[in-house]
């Protein structure tokens, strides 16, 4: 299997471990990632301009289409915006016309057929492959899955999973030998979209979720989205982080038998002691 890999903007500087672990896992599983020079997915500018956001998404989709590949991203917000953009142009002929003009200007064709897959979907598509590749299943690691809003909702646009009772994340966690615990807030927002806009509410949303994850008895909260990880992880600089937040790609990578340093896991990261 071969995908056009769309890391998204934040990985390079703010969360290299995410890119590193996703690429290591894919390489180990034999999922080939092609890396054209993509631009922004358009999610960050969606607050300011619909056209700019939709065009950003379509341009990257057009680059994938030119390679004849589906696009795979490890970020839920990028994923959601790609889906949203495709939905928007599907709804609005005038918008589609404007977008086609921009694309033509850059020598690109409208991406009629390219589909967008999130990293978790790609793993789920290759469920048997992943299952067979697990070498060192975690024993007793209890995790709280954080789903991430922009892949899950609105379901009629994202087609990710059941928006009220999704199972994909738990299913994949189970493959690694870890135990996914049920908890009330697993489908709630991480609060990252309000960073830099309304820090108070952003902080409150994060704290509420982490407290909920902790209360569920989990050892770690796991994410599969760059923004969510930035909100919960050590990178956030958040003072009251009650539970470690860990990228799912790292949990999976360890269970595949990959070395921590190849997954961007810093020596001495506290959560690793749970993952034996």
């Amino acid at each position: 299997m071969k995908y056009a890999y769309f890391p998204g903007c934040k990985i390079a500087h703010y969360l290299p471990a995410h890119g590193k672990s996703v690429e290591a896992v894919c390489a180990h599983l034999g999922l080939e990632l092609i890396k054209p020079e993509f631009s922004c997915c358009g999610y960050p500018v969606r607050q300011e301009s619909r056209d700019a956001s939709v065009y950003s998404a379509l341009r990257s989709l057009a680059l994938s289409a030119r390679l004849g590949l589906d696009l795979m991203t490890p970020c839920k917000c990028c994923f959601g915006n790609f889906r949203h953009a495709l939905h928007q142009v599907g709804q609005d002929e005038k918008l589609k016309f404007r977008m086609k003009n921009f694309l033509t200007d850059e020598g690109l064709d409208f991406p009629e057929t390219t589909s967008v897959r999130h990293f978790l979907q790609v793993l789920d598509d290759n469920y048997g492959l992943v299952k067979d590749a697990v070498r060192r299943p975690h024993k007793g690691l209890k995790v709280a899955c954080h789903y991430g809003c922009h892949a899950l909702r609105p379901e009629n646009i994202t087609h990710f999973d059941d928006p009220f009772a999704p199972t994909i994340f738990e299913r994949l966690v189970a493959l690694t030998g870890a135990i996914a615990l049920p908890w009330d807030l697993r489908l709630e927002c991480c609060g990252y979209p309000l960073r830099g806009r309304d820090e108070t509410i952003s902080g409150l949303l994060a704290a509420r979720k982490m407290a909920g994850a902790k209360a569920s008895g989990a050892d770690v909260l796991t994410t599969a989205c760059t923004y969510c990880q930035l909100q919960f992880g050590a990178e956030s600089g958040h003072p009251d982080r009650s539970i470690p937040a860990v990228l799912f790609s790292q949990i999976l990578g360890l269970s595949l038998g990959l070395e921590p340093e190849n997954l961007g896991i810093e020596p001495g990261e506290a959560w690793v002691r749970f993952a034996v």
């Binding site: 903007c9 934040k10 390079a12 500087h13 703010y14 020079e37 993509f38 631009s39 922004c40 358009g42 960050p44 500018v45 969606r46 607050q47 300011e48 301009s49 619909r50 056209d51 700019a52 956001s53 065009y55 950003s56 341009r59 928007q88 709804q91 609005d92 918008l95 921009f102 200007d105 850059e106 809003c149 922009h150 899950l152 909702r153 609105p154 379901e155 928006p163 009220f164 489908l187 709630e188 927002c189 609060g191 979209p193 309000l194 830099g196 806009r197 309304d198 509410i201 952003s202 409150l204 949303l205 509420r208």
Partner: protein
């Protein structure tokens, strides 16, 4: 005081004074940002990396062999010309006792280095024309033109000097004053035939005269003159002047003034814009020490230097992640190269309010993806400049659309906006908020408000959020768009789409809130007169 000394003095004063003024900005501009403290890796380790970047132009090589080849050739040709030719009286002559500019290897090397330089310059110019035309401004062309002018005029100057009978006479007057007229004729014959001097008089062709000329040349001239054929470019260029044109003397004078004038211009313009990049970029590469990552703890002086080190090579803008957004919105400050230039002007307090608004928009649209920092040929830590300047702008009260909207209360926005025609949201969004059908199903059941995590964490929603989601839907249904645009709920929506997913009646609540924010952004864009 003659042309040479006046020109040289003025150029040196301009270069030295301007360079000091430029270096002053390194201290001033960097200070405008908050200090981030901390120290990078050791000086010695960084020095090697920085030197390698500077000498080998490693960063330029990473992004295209054409530009690297062009720049390398230009520099490899230009530096020997600068030191060995332009500064020959203070460098070459003291070092080499037998130095004469008209002797080989100097004469040959001058042509060779000139040709190398010019080849490099042509490659760079072609690269700019094909890839960077739209991003280029006059100073980009000016630098190419001035350097090219110095090189080309040098070739023409030498070419005319080769042809000039006046120069021949001046030389024989000085170095062969006792010459008989027959000897002079023989020497002229030799020089016309062998070295391309163009005399207007009739010259004999008899072999004994030519032989005499050769003897005299060997005796009198050859000590200081290699055959002009070794000036292979200039000598070939004499073919450009038709033999019927008797303009060698005048041409020589004109090109002497032109060559020196352009050289003095280049020196005098050194502190202007990108003419300064050999110094500022070189210094920045050394300071950055080969690092391609963004380094936390950049000192204010390093920031000031980075701000000044742009060569306008355009790589950052060509590779920018948000270039599709620039394509749609058209604001030049979205792309790094122009944003950096305007950031400098802003730090110098020389940016108009409308331009500042554009800078703020560009600053907020940047996703801090690190790519410009990685591709920058000048090694500028752009990532650090973007994050630091975004923070500094926010502290000045310029926090982008969101910050502007929060400056006034919902009621104030309602008053301001109700007095003007807002138009349909269709221009910015899908038009959901204007379409009555969007709300037909809304029965004000408050499910959207009930599931909203923002409402849930707020201690006092009416104080923190002005309106609840279902109230916004109700106002929009009544066509009271102005009443909703400034509401905190609109701007503090965390875009989790729970409201929309849970609405039993299928009202696209979150999409409508998105549209309102897009409209707010659009209103501000017009109000601030942004690009």
């Amino acid at each position: 005081m003659d042309f040479f000394s006046i020109g040289l003095t003025l150029a040196c004063v301009s270069a030295a004074g301007g360079a000091l003024w430029r270096a002053r900005t390194w201290f001033l501009r960097g200070k405008t940002f908050a200090q981030s403290g901390g120290k990078g890796p050791g000086m010695a380790r960084r020095f090697v990396g920085g030197l390698a970047d500077l000498v080998l132009l490693r960063r330029t090589l990473r992004h295209g062999p054409a530009r690297w080849t062009g720049h390398m050739l230009l520099v490899l040709g230009f530096l020997p010309l600068l030191f060995l030719h332009a500064m020959d009286e203070i460098i070459t002559r003291p070092l080499f006792s037998a130095y004469e500019p008209t002797l080989d290897p100097w004469q040959f090397l001058r042509n060779l280095f000139g040709l190398i330089s010019l080849t490099g310059l042509v490659i760079l110019a072609l690269h700019r024309i094909t890839r960077l035309k739209t991003a280029s401004i006059p100073q980009d062309w000016a630098l190419l033109a001035v350097v090219g002018g110095v090189l080309v005029s040098g070739f023409f100057l030498e070419s005319f000097k080769i042809m000039s009978p006046g120069d021949f006479t001046r030389m024989t007057d000085d170095y062969f004053p006792e010459a008989e007229s027959e000897e002079l004729l023989a020497l002229k014959t030799y020089w016309a035939r062998e070295n391309g001097v163009r005399f207007t008089i009739f010259l004999p062709t008899a072999p004994e005269i030519t032989e005499l000329g050769a003897e005299l040349h060997e005796d009198r001239c050859a000590g200081c003159h290699a055959p002009t054929a070794t000036a292979f470019v200039s000598r070939s260029m004499t073919a450009l002047v038709p033999s019927s044109f008797n303009i060698a003397d005048q041409g020589g004078t004109i090109f002497w003034y032109l060559h020196l004038g352009l050289a003095f211009t280049a020196l005098g313009l050194l502190p202007w814009g990108k003419f300064f990049h050999p110094i500022s970029t070189g210094a920045n590469l050394l300071v950055r020490g080969g690092s391609r990552a963004s380094r936390p703890g950049t000192s204010s002086l390093a920031r000031g230097l980075g701000l000044d080190a742009c060569t306008r090579c355009g790589q950052c803008s060509l590779h920018c992640s948000v270039s599709p957004i620039h394509k749609v919105l058209g604001n030049p400050d979205i792309l790094p190269m122009d944003k950096l230039a305007d950031l400098r002007l802003h730090l110098d307090d020389r940016l108009s309010p409308a331009q500042t608004a554009s800078l703020v928009e560009g600053s907020h649209i940047c996703t801090e993806c690190l790519r410009c920092t990685q591709v920058c040929s000048a090694g500028i830590d752009l990532q650090d400049l973007w994050t630091a300047s975004k923070k500094a702008l926010a502290e000045e009260g310029r926090a982008g659309v969101d910050g502007e909207m929060r400056k006034s209360t919902a009621a104030e926005w309602a008053r301001e906006l109700s007095s003007r025609k807002l138009g349909r949201i269709g221009s910015t969004g899908a038009g959901l908020a204007d379409r009555a059908e969007s709300f037909w199903g809304c029965v004000q059941c408050t499910t959207c408000t009930g599931v909203c995590p923002v409402v849930a964490v707020s201690e006092d929603p009416s104080r923190d959020l002005d309106l609840a989601p279902q109230q916004i839907m109700n106002l929009l249904r009544m066509g009271l768009k102005a009443q909703t645009l400034g509401a905190r709920m609109v701007w503090s929506c965390t875009t989790c789409y729970k409201c929309q997913e849970n609405c039993p009646q299928g009202v696209p609540v979150a999409d409508i809130l998105y549209e309102l924010r897009q409209m707010g952004a659009d209103i501000l864009r017009k109000k601030e007169g942004r690009a």
